[in-house]
Assembly symmetry: D2
């Protein structure tokens, strides 16, 4: 990087991902947030629109169309899928990097996209978009101008499973991914389902084998083992932040044992700044990564059933969204990858 | 039953299962709780030892040894495993039915028991004990004098899976049981792990493939398909009550589809008073059974992976413990099975 | 009462108070719910509209206008204030008792009502309505045809304070009422403010000295000491059920001490079936009344400041709404006052 | 400050205040934590003793006595009161600043201390200790060698009330302080009372007018208006972090109104980096300060009762403990007061 402060815009600033971007970017010494959009709060100061940020940003929210065709070094789109699709080209100007936190540009196959998202993708943009999972695609991200930031569930599932597929330790079919998510993952728009008393002290699955993160996970894991198929069931847990993922896969390497499985993870990730392998007998917990960009992972061998049980814990708003987006920004802009992202989790 | 009120003792009354027994038995017109034990609260009134029950019971807590060899019609043991093992014979007197809520008498194989519980079972008692899952063992319960009340996880797993195994719809190996439990399932004794702020806003797995409910589940499911094997991982969720279980199994019947799978459940359980099959597109939620003896179950067919995804939700203190214990009592004593147990869940 | 089962209608059945009425009425042996209204769920079975009640009610939700002018023995209005105001006369037919759970008929002064509710009261109905707080107005309730069921905050504040005012133990000005409520008190309609993640792990006051329960509390307490004035501040706490109220009042009787204050409560309420005085050093807790019709109360003397600190805990959906409504029904119809309402709280 | 990195020790590192010190000090560029004590974890790495900190500190926990008489620039005591009392002199060496987060040195009057803490204070040390509330005692802190870091409740109460007393806007008697705290304020030691299911969905007062923060609040407020007396009642709310305080005081200035009251706060604190005055109609919320060193304050005028209602929200572990301790360190060592402490709250 040069010593020049990069100019950043955050679009959709009053959603949870947008607020989290503002929280994290505040402490990043290489960038300055110079514009934020929030259509429903246009004209309000950031501190008024987002009370936790009072006194920290001297900015006023604008309508997104007021920012069209302006020059920024980095533009974060924290918008609904459809809106990202339609406005992205307005910000993808020469010299700019656009990082989209929606699902608009993640799925490469137009038919698959249409089936799961219900509208047509923006093909030209999707073709150039790079899937922004640094641990697995760092080189491509370095050259990217449009980054499709991964979904929270795909982040929690892909990182811990990829090394096992790559080394052919597990079978690439019959993989079960049972994920448990906090409620911020569902966004900030009010609905009957997300009303406090409907969720609090409740516990349920939703969209079993029907969630749009299924094709995203299968697309990315197939990069390591062609034709990978997963059964994915998300659950909703009454906490604010965190995705805990439990993955079950058939071990096809007969010589594997607990330490061998653990070695697959440590060897794959020992140099990664945000992947922490929790060693036996420890296990991840979302409360050990809260507020941080870490993904904590672990594995157990269920010898009786020749099954690997793989675990991960992330904060869905950080490693599962805004933190990973900043990690991508760091890579694409040539900052040190860790810049602004190395700090302890908030416990408890 | 005769018109005579049955005399009931609740031992271990100040644990969560004990308190729940007192809550539920209060409204049962065929019985009267005439004695309660709680060693640490001996000499205190029930209302003082358990403030929510103030004004409802005119009884004083006793030491358990003060109740040895007394005559009761029914004795509920809500005690630690070891204590149930050692005191059970003191209450298993002629004419009495003993219902044990611990794991002391559930596992039939002495070696398996020793391995998972760490001490020797009481063989003679285990031999006569009946596993008290009414939906699957009603006839045996009718004749039982000692009933081993099932664990909460085995209840949530066995009831929805059994019909699929019985009909050979699913394979009996490679079954994955991913269970999520509220915290009352861990009991009432304080510990660092169960301290409020350690759990609240946290989410984690524990004892993966190492929980002592594994052999209990395998023993019972093997009654429907010999040699059934499961990979079982429990998780701890920061809510008070409820176990939500998600089960993944390979469908081996090629002609199955969503409605066929659902029919397996409805045909198996349409006459059961406490099993509710949630029809597509609905799914169970622990907050729809809270405080009640219902187990809500559902199934989804993941056609791409030929996998049945089976769901259940129970209140671990009711259907997973004290409610099921009373259901067992009703059967063993000749009451109507539903007596004292049919009332709406507490929502929210 | 006669042995005849009374016919009950619950209007607004899918709100939290409506659901709670259905939960509690289910176990009341003297009545049968024969009709329920829920405009948005018209045509759906109760079990489909309210999944926790699946299998318990063989009824279909209707539009409220389909029930106009039908004959019921008891009609519960669990409706918005404005709707109660406009439809009440449709159900107040000869022989019927109408119990309104909204604020439509609680305030006697038309100007005060207009100021706090923003619309005109239905004067003729308000004139005949009896404020349904059994502990303080039992005789009037017995003769009532229209009962204005108290608000949850006024219930938690009025019952414990009234005896002190009546006996002139405390001053009737400068009374501070600091109330903390669970979220079901805010109803079931989704809004940004009641979105799960906005409330969870949050804690705040709202409408300080501006809540419409202020005039209700002052009106009722002034019945015991004319001109009583209170400073009332409600707070929102991320739990489902419960109102905990802490009241501060100047002790004007110089001879008072802790036991004297406690005696005021025990003497006032020793015969009340739903008031439990928690004796020193105990204190109420909402988790000791959850799901029940109890109000637990206590008092402490802060001698240094000559201040009485008065506490209460209720379940806002039971004693604060539907349970008290049924208690009123019992009185008005001549049932035993406790009928269908005496059962243990759900702990934890 | 000089450019030299200051050497810091954190004693009692595995309690919640200790962990929070390590979290916050990590990002402070002027200091380095060089030693941590945790008797029960002696010999373990910090990352093993405190899993959220894995990979962030290359330190091993030691027994506290292993650190006696070593040279540090700053020593934080996050220990029980008694232990702080007995070990403090071991660390109060020439050139060192000791910041004690317990109550050992806050109360100046030996008799008052004895009455509320139950043991004898260390008089010589208490005499030199400075009460570390920067907004009110900045100059004294600058010269302090031993700083008594305020309690969380006194922080939430004193800061918003002091300006009103100083200006004689409110009476100094009859002040009611109703505080609601998250559970981390009660520490990390397991107990029946702090067991998850005992607190979750519960709500209660504790130690009404009997909490040891009463004399601390009265001592400090009396510095602004001699003889100030308060009725203080703390409550326990099932959240992790946060203290919300509601204070009621008689307004004795007849010319006051809402804007006049608000002006008292803005004039007193407009230059304070960590005090945010929330303007009408806004109100503080603990979720707007979580994880941060802010105290958000507001006031409302209840004109009918001539009462000022004063509000504050803090994160008890930050402004109520470890953050304020670091703010004190910054002042005492000559760092910029904000250093390492200006970052956005974690919302939600």
């Amino acid at each position: 990087m040069t010593g020049v402060t990069k100019r950043v815009a955050v679009l959709g600033a009053t959603g949870y991902s947008g607020i989290e971007l503002l929280r994290l970017l505040y402490s990043h010494s290489g960038v300055a947030v110079v514009a934020v959009s929030a259509d429903r709060h246009a004209g309000e100061t950031v501190g008024r629109a987002i009370p936790p940020l009072a006194g920290l940003y001297d900015l006023t929210c604008q309508r997104i169309d007021q920012l069209y065709d302006h020059d920024f070094d980095v533009v974060f789109l924290a918008l609904p899928h459809e809106q990202s699709t339609s406005v992205c080209h307005r910000f993808l100007r020469p010299g700019a990097v656009v990082i989209d936190l929606s699902g608009a540009f993640r799925i490469k196959d137009p038919a698959v996209f249409k089936r799961w998202y219900g509208f047509e993708m923006e093909r030209a943009l999707t073709d150039v978009a790079v899937y922004g999972m640094p641990e697995l695609k760092r080189d491509a991200i370095r050259r990217a101008r449009l980054i499709a930031n991964p979904g929270c569930y795909p982040t929690g599932a892909t990182i811990p499973v990829a090394p096992f597929l790559k080394r052919r330790v597990i079978a690439n079919t019959g993989i079960v991914i049972d994920a448990k998510s906090g409620v911020t993952g569902a966004g900030r728009s009010p609905s009957q389902e997300l009303h406090f008393s409907e969720l609090n002290e409740g516990l349920r699955a939703y969209k079993p084998a029907e969630h749009r993160h299924v094709p995203e996970i299968e697309q990315e894991l197939s990069g390591f083992s062609s034709g990978t198929r997963v059964t994915f069931v998300p659950h909703l847990v009454p906490i604010n932040r965190g995705v805990f993922t439990t993955i079950y896969a058939a071990v096809q390497d007969r010589n594997m044992d607990q330490s061998g499985l653990e070695a697959v993870l440590t060897e794959a990730y020992h140099d990664e700044p945000f992947v922490r392998v929790v060693r036996y007998p420890g296990l991840p917990n979302v409360n050990a990564v809260r507020g941080s960009n870490y993904i904590d992972i672990a594995v157990r061998y269920d010898e009786q059933n020749s099954t690997a049980i793989i675990f991960s814990a992330i904060d869905n708003l950080v490693k599962g969204a805004s933190g990973q987006a900043i990690q991508n920004m760091n890579i694409a802009l040539g900052f040190e990858e860790k810049q602004g992202l190395v700090f302890p989790p908030v416990f408890p």
